[in-house]
């Protein structure tokens, strides 16, 4: 080895990158396609369906699914399909809004606690361990109903408690990543804490956190729809899957699709989100 030759294993080993790997995760593809369809529908529904989701037309009372009313009409003659898609706007909207702040808050708090450790970590883990079993679902019901504030009840409670599940995930990851040698090396290279957090910790925490986000979002959506069903969620007439199920309940024996369809819409969204979650989990487990 006297002369400095480029060592025989000089070049990197060929391996799939980028798009080719995504193609190999069917779950992610299926999930994102389903979500895309839903979002496109929700955005372009005014041009797709001629019907107004709120205007009543008593002459079209409880029509079964037909050519002009794909899913039939409800007890006030409103087109079910149109209302379903408009309801998607409201419910998904609240779901995303109620998740964004807890997600970011939880990731930041968890990462700081996991990386810096010390008293920050003990306080955060004490809070998260204690409140992980916090009956926030119950609190949402009480607050939403007592205040009759609809979505506000959800937002308030979720700001208080929703960040905990993300803090736990990111704290655990940050604590284990901290022991990884490339973090130690970044420290010896003299890189400051904030840079290590942003450049090295966050990119490795986000993938798993997003997977948890997917499942957690489904949980929120179900909570929103449940409140709607109990009549303490979104005030009518704004379309909401929960209220639609409740309205359809009294016609269950004759027009079963009135309650069934909104439920299926929630299942559809839930399936799409969890497929995306599973697909992302496979993708990132294979890459690292």
């Amino acid at each position: 080895m006297s002369h400095r030759s480029i060592s025989p294993e000089a070049g990197p080993l060929p391996a799939g990158r980028g798009w080719s790997r995504v193609r190999r995760t069917p779950a992610l593809l299926a999930g994102s396609f389903m979500m895309l369809v839903l979002i496109l529908l929700a955005v372009f529904i005014p041009w797709i369906s001629p019907y107004d989701p709120i205007a009543q037309d008593l002459s079209a009372f409880l029509r079964p699914p037909s050519a002009d009313h794909w899913l039939g009409t409800d007890q006030l003659g409103r087109d079910l399909f149109t209302r379903l898609v408009y309801a998607a706007r409201t419910d998904l909207g609240i779901m995303v809004l109620a998740e964004i702040i807890p997600f970011c808050l939880g990731i930041t708090i968890g990462m700081l606690a996991g990386y810096y450790g010390g008293w920050v970590d003990t306080v955060v883990s004490l809070v998260t361990d204690t409140f992980i079993a916090f009956p926030f679902y119950l609190i949402i019901i009480i607050v939403a109903f007592a205040s009759g504030a609809g979505a506000q009840g959800i937002y308030i409670t979720f700001m208080l408690v929703g960040w905990i599940v993300f803090a736990r995930v990111s704290r655990g990851l940050a604590a284990s990543l901290k022991r990884q040698e490339w973090i130690a090396s970044a420290q010896t290279l003299g890189l400051p804490g904030w840079r290590i957090l942003l450049r090295h910790l966050l990119p490795n925490i986000l993938p798993q956190a997003v997977v948890v986000l997917m499942t957690d979002m489904v949980g929120i959506l179900v909570a929103i729809v449940t409140l709607g069903y109990l009549g303490i969620g979104i005030a009518p007439p704004t379309p909401d899957w929960g209220t639609m199920i409740a309205d359809g309940q009294s016609f269950m024996t004759t027009a079963w699709w009135l309650s069934a369809m909104p439920g299926l819409a929630v299942v559809y969204t839930g399936l799409a989100l969890s497929l995306i979650g599973d697909g992302l989990a496979d993708l990132w487990r294979r890459k690292s």
């Binding site: 004490l126 361990d129 204690t130 409140f131 992980i132 079993a133 916090f134 009956p135 926030f136 679902y137 119950l138 609190i139 019901i141 009480i142 607050v143 109903f145 007592a146 205040s147 009759g148 504030a149 506000q152 009840g153 308030i156 409670t157 208080l160 599940v165 499942t215 489904v218 949980g219 959506l221 179900v222 729809v225 449940t226 069903y229 109990l230 303490i232 929960g242 199920i245 309940q249 269950m252 024996t253 079963w256 309650s259 069934a260 909104p262 439920g263 929630v266 299942v267 559809y268 969204t269 839930g270 399936l271 989100l273 969890s274 497929l275 599973d278």
Partner: protein, 329 residues
């Protein structure tokens, strides 16, 4: 000394320092206190005047003011809180029901057994079914059965509890008439029979996540060297599976069960509403619609207590299962 009795466990380096148990109990108290205070203030801070809501829009100003005085709502917030704490600590109750004047504790005591039974049934059902499904999926890795069991959580994750309840009523109650719909049958068997469908509905909301977690954990343990050692020693598969593999994989799923507890309790309350069962759930919704704050407060306290007690039981089960985790705490 054939079996490792607790004494052996103590000498074997597991000083059962019940320190962790004391910490867990302390935590439980903190949760109860927070829930109570959170509900107390949230109800009163959030916009809308309770007295006006109780008497309805057409009530006169004087009657509203009179009601506010009787309810003590005119007092400053913190004084209300002090009086609330006083009644809580002295009588162990959150006051009298505005609607019926009955002490809240008595109201809850009447309705509690049904709800507790429903929760217990749901927990047992969820544990049993997820155990069976996870074992089947893990031992038949990548066969058709395994794929079915893996897709099942993705689909059911998005199913709202009440919607599942409605479908089950429609299917089993109305069409097949296997189960009575609504209300509670007389006598022990009657009660169990009528709680079957609701229990299935609540369990249904818990099973997907538990199966997914237990299956993943079992697959990992099945691949570990010590299972290969046992199989090389030709130890019967069922002994390996139930004595060694399951025990090593149960821990994360047990923790997950604890975390999802509040969903389970919340789900139970909603299911009572769907199936028309006169339990804590329906009491909660009636008292909410009638703005009966002391009762709401009492139920919140009671549910927090239930969540916390079950959480402690899980923590003890976890210690029994794997003493090492508690050593560090």
């Amino acid at each position: 000394m054939t079996k490792t009795s607790p004494t052996a466990r103590r000498k074997a380096g597991f000083p059962p320092s019940y320190r962790w148990l004391a910490i867990a109990a302390l935590r439980a108290l903190i949760v109860i206190a927070c829930v109570t205070t959170a509900v107390f203030f949230l109800i009163r801070i959030v916009p809308g005047d309770p007295a006006k809501m109780i008497l309805g829009e057409y009530a006169t100003a004087e009657s509203i003011a009179a009601l506010r005085r009787t309810l003590g709502l005119d007092l400053p917030l913190w004084e209300q809180f002090v009086r609330f704490l006083h009644t809580l600590l002295t009588q162990g109750d959150t006051g009298l029901s505005i609607v019926s004047g009955v002490p809240v504790r008595q109201l809850i005591a009447e309705r509690a057994p049904v709800t507790l039974l429903l929760i217990a049934l749901a927990c047992l059902l969820a544990a049993a079914v997820s155990l069976v499904l996870a074992v089947v999926a893990a031992t038949n890795k990548d066969k058709l059965l395994d794929h079915l069991i893996r897709i099942f959580p993705a689909i059911t994750l998005g199913m709202p509890v009440f919607w599942v309840g409605l479908l089950l009523i429609l299917l089993f109650g109305v069409h097949l008439r296997w189960f009575p719909v609504g209300g509670i049958g007389e006598g022990w068997t009657g009660m169990l029979y009528s709680l079957a469908l609701p229990a299935i509905t609540v369990a249904f909301s818990q099973i997907p996540t538990l199966v997914r977690s237990l299956r993943a954990q079992m697959l990992e343990v099945l691949e570990s060297d010590f299972v290969v050692t046992l199989r090389a020693a030709r130890i019967p598969r069922r002994v390996i599976l139930f004595k060694h593999v399951l025990r090593n994989s149960a821990m994360p799923t047990l923790m997950l069960f604890g975390v999802n507890l509040s969903y389970l309790i919340g789900g139970t309350l909603v299911v009572e509403q769907v199936f028309g069962i006169k339990g804590i759930g329906s009491l909660l919704f009636t008292s909410i619609s009638s703005r009966d704050f002391p009762v709401i407060q009492g139920i919140a306290l009671y549910c927090a207590f239930a969540v916390v007690v079950i959480g402690l039981l899980i923590e003890i089960a976890a210690w029994r299962l794997d003493p090492r985790t508690k050593e560090k705490r």
